[in-house]
């Protein structure tokens, strides 16, 4: 399927960001921003540092509350969303500066992502009742599949805090992935990686998108990676949208070149 620009009347959108504005103590981070993300596409958010990209992801999964505007996810429209509600609706998320549970093992970190699927209570856990054991076995199996998929099996029992940064990024992706999300928000999944690690991560993302059918919104600075990976690019500058379309369209947009592409590379 060829990617196309997400117009206002797009029927196939899973996420609609409508007129979102956000400010921190009077300083505007995002101004009247709207765009749509189509189901099963990879949408890249690009823009210079401080353009409001991470803030936008934080609005989408409820870490920040916008001053105005709304988020439509699936058939529900939210003025204000809490992170837990976002997670329960299948919005997975990774952070720019890994937000992992550092003293826990890799597998335990991944297994925390399954909380939204847990149907057993603490009494069943405390007494290891059959339902709890079955669920634990099921969660272990699902986590092992993710460990295998992301080539993390060798690190299974290692505390996350002692792993290399690039491996931690994969663990965080795993924690989001194991919860069987519908939408994944990835904040600079390739930051601080060398070319080979970037290629690996890009392949994982592509794989997740194509084989598991998960919609992905990601922030990335490496333009060549974005052009290869994404179906749809949204360009931000000073909290405003300056470009929205296919990678080719965005690349040809003079405003975008002025704001971002021309300035860096």
């Amino acid at each position: 399927m060829t990617a196309n620009s997400a117009g206002a009347g797009d029927q196939d959108a899973i996420l609609r960001v409508r007129n979102i504005s956000l400010s921190f103590q009077g300083i505007k981070a995002i101004t009247d921003l709207s765009f749509n993300v189509r189901r099963r596409e990879i949408c890249a958010l690009i823009g210079p540092n401080g353009a409001g990209k991470s803030s936008l992801l934080n609005v989408v999964n409820g870490v920040y509350t916008p001053d105005s505007g709304e988020i439509q996810y699936g058939n529900e429209t939210f003025r204000r969303l809490k992170p837990l509600d976002a997670a329960r609706r299948g919005i997975g998320r990774t952070f720019q500066n890994n937000a992992l549970f550092k003293k826990m093992s890799v597998r335990d970190n991944i297994m925390t992502g399954l909380s939204r699927h847990s149907r057993t209570n603490f009494i069943e856990h405390a007494l290891r009742l059959p339902r709890a054991r079955r669920e634990e076995a099921d969660f272990t199996r699902r986590s092992e599949s993710v460990l295998e998929f992301l080539d993390l099996r060798a690190h299974r029992h290692t505390p996350v805090g002692s792993l290399a940064y690039g491996v931690q990024k994969r663990v965080e992706l795993g924690r989001a992935l194991v919860s069987d999300p519908t939408l994944l928000l990835l904040d600079e999944p390739m930051a601080g990686m060398n070319a080979q690690e970037k290629a690996e991560m890009a392949a994982f993302i592509k794989d997740i998108n194509q084989h598991l059918g998960i919609t992905i919104v990601l922030i990335e600075h490496d333009v060549s990676v974005i052009m290869n990976l994404s179906d749809h690019v949204v360009v931000l500058d000073y909290g405003r949208k300056v470009g929205d379309g296919t990678p080719a369209e965005v690349r040809a947009n003079p405003a975008v070149i002025a704001a971002y592409l021309g300035a860096t590379h």
Partner: protein
Amino acid sequence: MTDTTLTLDRNISQPIVVRERKSGQYWLWLLLAGAYLALPTFGNEYWLNAIVVPFLILSLAGIGLNILTGYAGQTSLGSGGFMAVGAFATYAFLLHLQLTFPIALFLGGLIAALVGFLFGLPSAKIKGFYLMVTSLAAQFFLEWLFLKVPWFYNYSSSATISAPRLDTFGINLNNSLGKYYLVLTVVAVLTWVALNLVRSQTGRNWMAVRDMDTAAAVAGIRINHSKILAFAISSFYLGVAGALWTFAYLGSAGVQSFGLSRSFQILFIIIIGGLGSISGCFIGAAFISLLPLALDVIAQTLFAGRVDAGLLQNIQKAIFGALIIWFLIKEPDGMARLISSWRSRLSIWPLRF
């Protein structure tokens, strides 16, 4: 070697068989068998009553606080207060409802859990040192309550409580062996429960909240529910420990037995033993309760008669404190970690170079 190859067509749902190591369980059973069979045979009554029983009860209290602080990351100085709730509630069930001891003990634990739940509610809004202050308030309030309301100690002139009787299902628990088996059984069962909990999704949620609570919410964990559950379960353990302390160890006790210094003692146990480690609670309790005795024995044999007794006591306390500091500098994660790193070093010992 590990990872570098990349396979794109891997099926994510394929089942994988994982073999977990179980060597630890073998030792656990051996230890338990030793505690049930060998210790009463070879140990004398003084040992069981004055050393092993308080050690086990302090370990149990340590597990209670470790669930809250070591696993769920919520600091508390209210352990003594929650132990008092368990003791006084169990007393009330024994006295007024004439319940048999294990049932009164369990219900006493539940009352402590309820009180822990109530004092845990502020944890939804406040964190860290501020939360510690609210737990301190709980400690002082509970101490005050059990001193000022005579109903709790049945209007006795000494303001203390003692068990009316300690038998259950026809078994007399009033002798020292009976009390030892009672304490050992309760501690063994509750340790098993604690291990189950911390290795389950409940335990992983606690640790996630401890390590980074915003990320925990994003990962789909109910943070407030997790915290308050930790308060309740922690208080259940502390309440049971408090009741055992009163009825199986001291025989009779007042609220002075559960003051702030008790809270600090439990806190030291888990810091020395290791935050976030169940075995660490036993190691820490052994350290706290056995080391002063060992120092005492050493001091008595070496210096008795030659050094003033009062001075000797103070020197022992200073050495005890210095040893704690030394251990914490050597291994800030506690003695459980120290021992496990020794073990892993030992297991690869011949191949070290």
